[in-house]
Amino acid sequence: MKHSLTIVWLLFLASVPLWLSNLYILHVLIMTGIFIIAAMSLNLLLGYTGQLSLGHVAFFGIGAYTSSLATLGFAVHLLPDWQVSVDPKPVWFGMLLGTAVAGLCGWAIGRLSFKVRGAYFVIVTISFAEVIRLVALNWVELTQGPMALNNIPYLTLGIPGWFEISFLRKPANYYLVLGVAILSYIVIRRLVRSRAGRAMIGLRENESLAASVGVGVTRYLVLATVVSAAMAGAAGTLYAHYIRIVDPDVFLFIYTVTMVIMVVTGGKGTLAGPVVGGVIFGLLPEALRAFEIGPEIQWVIYGILMVLVVYFLPEGIVPAMRNWWQGRRQAPVADTAPDSATTEAAR
């Protein structure tokens, strides 16, 4: 039952470019998909280990910049008379590199900041994102600063001269983002339903108890940060080669906030939470545009809806739905034979 529902849902998602003729809406879906990947990665940290990264966009931007620079090539003076130049690399390589570099930064941040946790981790991540933004803005020789990196090549896959798929047009990019999103979802699901995920949940719920049964605190927090950062970096590389222009604004704090909103409204610490929250709060600004109201009113409505969700469903949409569904299913059984039903279930 649950499997068939998943397949129907996936078939529906895969069919979207076939019947959706409005390319603008497809673009909105692609961007939402990219942000959902980033939100899923944030959920691994915020939802499962309980550590809030308010600089998550840094990993996203590092992925975008690394991949762009690797595929464009660059020449930069590290010392006045020492120039390092890098030739353009294939896009698939750049994307893997961007993912890896973001993961490496996650490792460094995790190692540095998990000596202290909670509020300190929040501060370290915010500062990290801001420092990286300033570097991107001011290291003009490398990043072009506010002039932005442009003409970033799009992804092509295949064997040259034989067959090639190019990810220039929107439908192809839609499938690429969908594929990476599904892959990310699977990786996170495997992680959280394993020894590693249980260690993370244990640290979130009761750190000293988790340590007393042998969970290495730093080890698992760093693991979560690395996977999370790499995934956010992958989302950044998708962004870079789809939009094909990257400027320091990818590091804006508002993008981190958007990810946090998606995770918290959807339900942190649930697999489907960031997807549901991402679909709703990713598409909502565009949906509101359909009405003949001023832009300021649109954002007021966006804010009000968000406050309402957080106020009435503090656990998030997905846990609330789940409780409601379980309550509905159990109610009739409990009416007829409460005792036998519960003992049967326990056995």
Binding site: A196, I201, L223
Partner: protein, 264 residues
């Protein structure tokens, strides 16, 4: 004493713990022999829990050494100490409240599990196989403490007595060789205490050495092979339960000078 090193499990030598100006434990020395139940007793503030925290790596002692089977535990982190087979429970009820009973025990099985992060992310079949084994093992442990019927329930929905059993189940999941129980029956009613004593007997039968901190004297006298009595950070007496019961220093510590004199 050190001549018996083969059957000595834990040696605490000259342990000193200070919190600022307060000396919680002062040059405390005792040893735990393999297979025994040793109880630490003493009035509130005697330093029992501080000693526990030092042995399991939660606080760093100001002096003295702690050695488990000849390996020094000082400066090791709690999880590294657990890896060596020394596992504790906590005085204040300590479980993973938001998880089901069986998931609590599954987290406790961390050290038994062998999955590596990459194997997990690639979804290797060995991981799925191990998950099934772990689930069976978790149910076995819940059955051992008598909570099998509760496996699917959230920890937060369990009554207090069962939470205390769940704590023990989590600790047992880490396959301890030396189990430190910090007031496991505090707050339990007499029948719950009696059934806990039976469980403790079964834990012993597994070959687990137990170091117990407890205020319930009926339990302490019933289960202990030896008792070490602390007062104000110092060991004032040690010996078998009957020796401790008749010890003048112990009576003085618990009941006061006048009561001790009245006994004479």
């Amino acid at each position: 004493m050190s001549g018996h090193s083969t059957d000595v499990e834990l040696v605490v030598d000259g342990l000193t713990i200070r919190f600022g100006g307060l000396t919680a434990v002062e040059s405390m020395s005792f040893e735990v022999r393999t297979g025994e139940v040793l109880s630490l007793i003493g009035p509130n503030g005697a330093g029992k829990t501080s000693a526990f925290n030092a042995i399991t790596g939660y606080i760093e002692p100001n002096g003295g050494t702690i050695a488990y089977r000849g390996i020094k535990l000082n400066r090791l982190k709690p999880n590294q100490i657990a890896e060596r087979g020394v596992v504790r429970t906590f005085q204040k009820t300590s479980v993973f409240m938001g998880q089901s009973a069986v998931d609590n025990v599954l987290i406790g099985l961390h050290l038994i599990s062998r999955q590596r992060p990459l194997a997990i992310m690639f979804g290797l079949p060995s991981v799925a196989r191990e998950e099934k084994e772990l689930a069976r093992e978790a149910l076995r442990i819940l059955e051992f403490v008598g909570l099998k019927e509760r496996s699917g329930l959230l920890a937060s929905s369990l009554p207090y007595g069962e939470l205390r059993l769940l704590e023990v189940a989590i600790a047992l999941a880490a396959k301890p060789k030396l189990l430190l129980l910090d007031e496991p029956v505090s707050g339990m009613n007499p029948s719950e205490t009696a059934s806990f004593m039976k469980i403790l007997g079964r834990i012993r039968a597994l070959g687990v050495t137990v170091l117990l901190v407890e205020h319930d004297m009926k339990m302490v006298m019933g289960v202990s092979d030896r008792i070490v009595c602390l007062n104000q950070g110092r060991i004032i007496a040690s010996g078998s339960p009957s020796e401790i019961q008749g010890n003048r220093e112990v009576i003085r510590a618990y009941l006061g000078e006048r009561y001790a004199r009245a006994q004479d």
